[in-house]
Symmetry: C2
């Protein structure tokens, strides 16, 4: 219609509901590959896309497998709200019961995740961790592929193909980019996701979570060794073993991003998250490192926290164990120096300190970062520019943002945690309460889906204004899931953030929503 | 000197360090009683006062016993920061090692708790839960008495006598009351504490925690029955069993307070806190109620929370289970009606809704309260005035205080939780981090000791201003431990709170600190 001059670009942009785009953005099976396989069952095409991975039968197993770097398909009789974390972790969801508006179907569509629902040919034996289709049993760990676009289920590994944006879709996105004034970055911590996001139009990485890198099979023993260390020396030795991996990770990201900004967040979760949870794994660890089992158990007890969300994590780790921040800084800086040397691309890493609530925390960690960077420059005989900034995710950080901005060159709003602490809602625990609140009209919307502009948004606005007062050119962004939510993007545009950052598959949605925000608030 | 007209009252008041008073405020042994006993050992008089109770050998046991309504003396080889919660729970602390500046001594003095330290005659066998003095073994549960003023230890139950304020001390306090403009209330949930506080000059109860009443031996089975109920009907039946107890509690408080204001907070902790923790107790419960053990275990798992601080507690319980708030309201109102009838004293209960972060939460619970109160008035054929207000303890509550004030007749700042959520510091987990921060200069002071005026104080000020904008005559107070801290009281005076509320033994300190604040900020 624009080509026929019936409507203008802005009108066209405003006519598209951002969430509609979602359907165009999902991976599909490679057509040639698909021909080689026959479906073993067919269910309802509940949410588009293609997924392939090991079968798991519980949300917990899905989350654990994901942490271990595995791709899984979550198979359930039916899903319930308690399965949410597992659904997030899985590549796709397959249910034996339920229709197009079942929990699995609705939630999967909401998160843009492939789902085949109501596949009645399946009998699920959750306790035995297996399922049966036409007399054949499939166990946990077996590979299946599911097609959310036609409902087919395959007992095979079928390669998936990332979607490509082209034609009219590409044109619309181009218009959106012309109109929008707020940047769109992505949350990615590996080259694959980063590449996908760039293909979708991401202009940088707004959040690279470094802890995901520690969970990989070869690395987890090293971080465990570090946690179990008795002395700083032992800790440094274990960290030295992690350094090459981290450096490799960052080089991969820099190369993929080709000079686009990359924000890397220092280690965030509490250390106990890395320790084994059950006796068997503890025994294995004990043998692996020749450390008494009792000591491992004692460490687990020592690190136990009643409220880990409010515990020893984020920059608090870097204050207590500066050697962790040193290793990460060294990896970030030397990787950048090497990529610059190898490719000629000028890399300007943005080092992000998480969970700052006290200006001195940032000062303390910044000192560690700067000293380490200087050492790296001296050793390399070469320098580069980098930035140090912080997450604003603790309510107090928003209250003293003017002081934090003295040391922070950028703020990235971690609205997940800001919502958790601002509302006093643990996301892991209050899903049920929030649903009840929405049903009873106590809350209009789930504040983890759409930012609560009225309350939490007030903290964001304060931090934006106070931060800019101290440092007029401070760079302001939002990472975390709100960054891909159209209503929240409208808010971010209005309060004057420089960019939003969201998961790769939401980047086009964010580009469109950003353009709509620009038009709406002209 | 004032009597000699050398200095005026204000100068006299300003010359006293509030913390000095602390030493005059502790219980002592009844002198006649004391003569009947001989000490079994003598240690250092590390912190004044007298204590008597069952021996416990770990902080956890102290806390558990306290919850069960027992009085205990915590006996340790030495205490460490991990023992803090146990020290708070115990009547007194006895250590075998350490001097006048040992951890036990310093901390006990800080909290005004009786402590005998470095009692070398004692050998502590923590694993066996016993101690040996001169060849005699004393086990967990045995009664001892300790005198923190002279260091004596007795293997007997010796009655303690509450301190009395009189003479010069009384005169100074009278002057303080003439000068101060901010009220001083107390936190108390039983007539004994309330009486003590009134003797110390408390002008009302600022915080009555109703959950303490549920932990008593006769009542805990009833609340457990309620939690395990499958239907609202079963829940109501169990609650009906608790009603007479709660009503009795409140009558006792009203009678003691003789018409002084009493603020009663509705049930606050998450329900899992009331369930048994170990298998043995679960079995007992299973037999008691003829409920399958598996069901009790399943309930425990269902109620488990990863971050209970941010979980299903406070007013969220009242929204989900209005019948709990109904029972408590009925107890509050009918107790007041009965005391009014019996004594002629006009009681005006202040019903406090905890953990409000969303204005609709208060609206929802207020409706339950009002409907229940109306029903009680109709049944009694008589009415009385009561108030409904809220804690401001969730950061978001401070951000939307203008709206909350539409329904709240008073705000009580719960600065403990406001500090926990505002800083993202779980008090149970971050003691070590905060000490490290103070040592490294990241923090000037422990924000749980003295309110962080700069950050958390900003939230308090916002709520004060916005609350008064909506409701000019809104009553504003602070409960929680900051309410007895002199620096915090100065802040409360400056921001214009109507009262502070603190533990009974800190009431005189608060009166003096309030007078000093009035003089300092004239």
């Amino acid at each position: 219609m624009v080509n026929e001059e019936k409507i203008d670009k802005e009108t066209a942009i405003m006519r598209i509901a951002p969430e509609q785009i979602d359907q165009l953005l999902h991976p599909t099976f490679d057509a040639d590959e698909l021909k080689k396989h026959e479906a073993i069952a067919k269910g309802l095409p509940a949410s588009p896309g293609a997924a392939c991975g090991e079968i798991v039968f519980s949300a917990d197993d899905a989350a654990t497998a994901k942490e271990a770097g595995k791709k899984v398909v979550l198979v359930r009789e039916e899903t319930s709200p308690e399965d949410l974390a597992g659904m997030v972790a899985a590549e796709g969801i397959l249910t034996a019961r339920g229709g197009m508006t079942s929990h699995a179907a609705v939630v999967a569509r909401g998160m843009g995740k492939c789902c085949v629902a109501g596949c009645h040919a399946i009998t699920v034996y959750e306790d035995e961790k297996c399922m049966e289709i036409a007399g054949v049993k499939y166990h946990e760990g077996d590979i299946i592929s599911i097609n959310g676009t036609d409902g087919n289920v395959y007992a095979a590994e079928i390669a998936t193909k990332a979607p490509e944006l082209s034609g009219n879709f590409g044109t619309i996105m181009k218009w959106a980019d012309e109109i929008r004034t707020i940047g769109v970055r992505t949350n990615a911590d590996n080259p694959r996701d980063a590449k996908q996001a760039v293909a979708f139009g991401a202009e940088g990485i707004g959040l690279c979570r470094t802890e995901h890198m520690f969970f990989e099979e070869e690395r987890i023993p090293k971080i465990r060794r570090m946690i179990l260390a008795d002395t700083e020396e032992e800790r440094r030795e274990a960290l030295a073993g992690l350094l090459p991996y981290q450096k490799g990770d960052f080089k991969g990201l820099y190369e993929t991003m080709q000079g686009k900004p990359v924000t890397i967040r220092l280690l965030d979760p509490p250390l106990h998250e890395f320790l084994p949870k059950n006796e068997e794994d503890m025994k294995e660890l004990s043998e692996q490192f020749n450390i008494p089992l009792e000591k491992i158990k004692a460490k687990t007890i020592e690190l136990h926290e009643f409220n880990p969300m409010l515990g020893h994590r984020g920059c608090r780790l870097a204050v207590t164990y500066p050697e962790i921040a040193e290793m990460q800084t060294e990896a970030i800086i030397t990787a950048a120096l090497e990529v610059k040397k190898e490719t000629g691309i000028d890399i300007k890493p943005e080092i992000m300190v998480p969970l700052v609530g006290i200006p001195n925390e940032l000062k303390n960690v910044k000192k560690t970062i700067e000293e380490t960077a200087e050492r790296c420059f001296e050793e390399a005989g070469e320098r580069l520019n980098y930035m140090v900034g912080t997450m604003i995710e603790i309510p107090r950080a928003a209250l003293v943002a003017d002081e934090i901005a003295e040391d922070a060159e950028f703020f990235s709003f971690g609205t997940n945690d800001l919502t958790q602490m601002g509302f006093g809602f643990s996301r892991d625990d209050t899903g049920k309460i929030i649903r009840e609140y929405v049903e009873k009209g106590v809350l209009e919307e789930d504040p983890f889906q759409t930012l609560d502009q009225h309350g939490i948004g007030k903290l964001v606005k304060m931090a934006v204004n106070d931060g800019r007062k101290t440092r007029p050119n401070i760079k302001l962004g939002i990472c975390g899931e709100h960054g891909g939510n159209p209503k929240t993007i409208d808010f971010c545009h209005r309060v004057g953030l420089n960019y939003v950052s969201c998961s790769p598959f939401r980047v086009p949605i964010a580009r469109l929503a950003a353009a709509q925000a620009a038009i709406r608030n002209k």
